[in-house]
């Protein structure tokens, strides 16, 4: 057991820490030796270590979920939800967030050095799954010395991890909060991921993944991210945000039109900007491995059926979906809710009204805060009673 509390004396300024484990057995049969996991903590563990909440991040997230990073100076990706007095109240709870296995922000992934060769793994990195990602998180939680998590919470792919926690380690979680997620990808969700992967692989700079000493496949990765951003928004939110507005021009007239395929519409330049920005912080091979892990994920796999899988769960559930989310539509959350009911599990569920599409889980702070705060408070009362 380690005591991490001195490192979080200043709740606002945070640092990413790394823990190393000797080996991690994977679903594909390979064993990673050694394996690193990057994580951050906010708030303090109570005396009997019953107030810990694990936040599981979405596809392109990282361990920096809250506070201001001491090195980069940037706020965390869910800083509006995690902190003193916020939904995940760090005055009450100790919040932990780790970078997923296969990622590129401190945890072992395809861009890490393979100790056997001294070179980056690239495409020799073993195929990973969501259960593998969760297994490594469990090792971290064990090492910190937390006997049972108060909650595991996350949106999108983070929700998949929360679901996996609930059935893989039922005795370890009092509550799970899967937000805007699914127990398995539909053909449409796999299709969008495949477009992203093909964009990367079609970029000559990808070079079968061995680009680490050369130019990365920036064009392919940027296109992949552009597609991603379209799926995260909704028709109405794009209409509101961009409409048909032009860059530096009032109207599109025949005389003024460029006909040069430059980014004339605001939505074009926005997507290009987000694409190029993503290239600076994300590894293309991680994109391939993580999207594949999402596509492989099926909570019922090896467990008979979805209801049979969820029968193992002992946690309370709070599921949240968003009305305009067409990437992870509410019906997918409802499938999980119905399966939980069929096994008489404790479940709360709300489809929140939002026009922000899938991005709503990062943007609809006020209503999520209300739900999460009440749910956590009543769970904590049960746990400590």
């Amino acid at each position: 057991m380690k005591d991490y509390s001195p490192m979080i004396a200043n709740a606002q300024m945070v640092e990413t820490q790394v823990e190393r484990f000797q080996s991690l057995p994977l679903d594909c049969g390979s064993v990673l030796t050694p394996v690193d996991i990057a994580f951050e903590t906010y708030g303090e563990l109570n005396a009997n270590r019953s107030n810990a909440i694990l936040i599981t991040h979405a596809f392109s997230g990282d361990a920096h979920a809250a506070g201001i990073h001491r090195v980069t100076g940037r706020p965390g990706w869910w800083d509006n939800m995690i902190g003193p007095g916020k939904a995940f109240d760090t005055d009450r709870y100790c919040v932990i967030c780790s970078n997923i296995l296969g990622g590129c922000a401190g945890s072992t992934g395809p861009s890490s050095i393979d100790p056997a060769t001294g070179q980056p793994f690239a495409m020799t990195f073993p195929v990973i799954t969501v259960p593998d990602i969760v297994r490594l998180q469990k090792m971290l939680i064990d090492r910190i010395g937390i006997p049972r998590l108060l909650a595991v919470a996350g949106g999108s792919m983070g929700g998949m991890q929360a679901l996996e926690w609930s059935v893989a380690y039922p005795e370890m979680v009092a509550a799970v909060i899967p937000i805007a997620t699914t127990h398995r990808h539909s053909a449409q969700q796999i299709a969008f991921n495949e477009v992203g992967r093909r964009a990367i692989m079609a970029d000559p700079d990808w070079d079968r993944g061995s680009y680490y000493l050369q130019r990365p496949p920036a064009r392919g990765l940027a296109v992949a991210r552009m597609v991603g951003h379209i799926t995260y928004m909704s028709d109405s939110s794009m209409k509101e945000k961009f409409g048909r507005r032009l860059n530096g021009r009032e109207a599109l007239t025949r005389e003024a039109a460029g006909f040069d395929f430059s980014a004339e519409f605001e939505v074009e330049s926005y997507l290009r900007y987000r694409g190029s920005q993503f290239v600076d912080r994300f590894d293309a091979n991680s994109y391939l491995y993580i999207t594949k892990a999402m596509d492989y994920f099926d909570l019922s796999y090896g467990r008979g059926s979805l209801p049979a899988a969820l029968e193992r769960a002992e946690a309370r559930f709070l599921l949240v979906s968003f009305s305009s989310d067409w990437l992870y539509p509410p019906y997918q959350s409802e499938e999980i809710v119905r399966a939980l009911r069929s096994r008489n599990r404790d479940v709360a569920y709300c489809e929140l009204s939002s026009q922000y599409g899938h991005d709503a889980f990062l943007l609809e702070v006020e209503e999520q805060t209300e739900l999460v705060r009440g749910f956590l408070k009543s769970t904590y009362q049960r746990v400590t009673r």
């Binding site: 709360a348 709300c350 009204s353």
Partner: protein, 200 residues
């Protein structure tokens, strides 16, 4: 029918409180903002769950810590295994559901007992209203015009007794209320609200 809810929840929690045993597993159909669920959890240590169709009410219920989900009553019931609850409560909308007998049978499949509350259409004020005005009754319990009323299956105390007899259900408790006081004699004429506790 907020009146029924008021009687059962705010004005007289004891009504339901006396019926439901401590530490019971309870499902509240149409649970509103979860006030009753919270009361049952806090005062009776119940494992209390609820279903509610109105999004805003679901949000309030979850915010107060209740295990409530947004959904349709009939579909929710059909998902549950037999005997999942000790009590299934339907405290305000029996007269508003499309197929009340199906709902009641499902309640007794999913729960060992059901607690059913409804406004009594046999109350003297309803009868008087129809008799004197010649219009569809308009009273404090049934305040709607016929064309805007959500109450599509109005019933009396006698109607419910007859249904229980026909279905061979056992009525364990009958609670009749007028205002905040109990009614003992002539309930079909005098009770504004009836609460039945029924088992198979």
């Amino acid at each position: 029918m907020s009146t029924v809810r008021e009687v059962l929840e705010r004005r007289d929690y004891a009504t339901i409180g006396h019926i439901i045993e401590p530490k019971s597993r309870v499902l509240d159909l149409g649970c509103g903002d979860g006030a009753l669920l919270a009361w049952l959890k806090d005062n009776k240590d119940c494992d209390a769950r609820g279903v509610e169709i109105d999004r805003a009410l679901v949000q309030k219920a979850i915010a107060r810590g209740a295990s409530v989900y947004q959904g349709d009553m009939a579909q929710s019931l059909s998902d549950y295994p037999d005997g999942a609850f000790d009590y299934v409560i339907l405290s305000q909308t029996l007269q508003q559901v499309g197929n009340p007998v199906t709902i009641l049978r499902e309640m007794l499949r999913v729960g060992h007992r059901m607690v059913v509350g409804f406004p009594n259409f046999g109350h003297w004020s309803v009868r008087l209203s129809l008799l004197t005005s010649g219009h569809a009754p308009s009273t404090s319990l049934f305040p709607f015009k016929w064309y805007e009323s959500p109450n599509i299956h109005v019933l009396t105390v006698l109607d419910f007794e007859a249904l229980c007899a026909a279905e061979k259900w056992t009525v364990e408790h009958r609670i009749f209320l007028a205002g905040s006081s109990r009614v003992s004699a002539m309930p079909n004429l005098r009770a504004e609200v009836a609460v039945f506790v029924v088992r198979k």
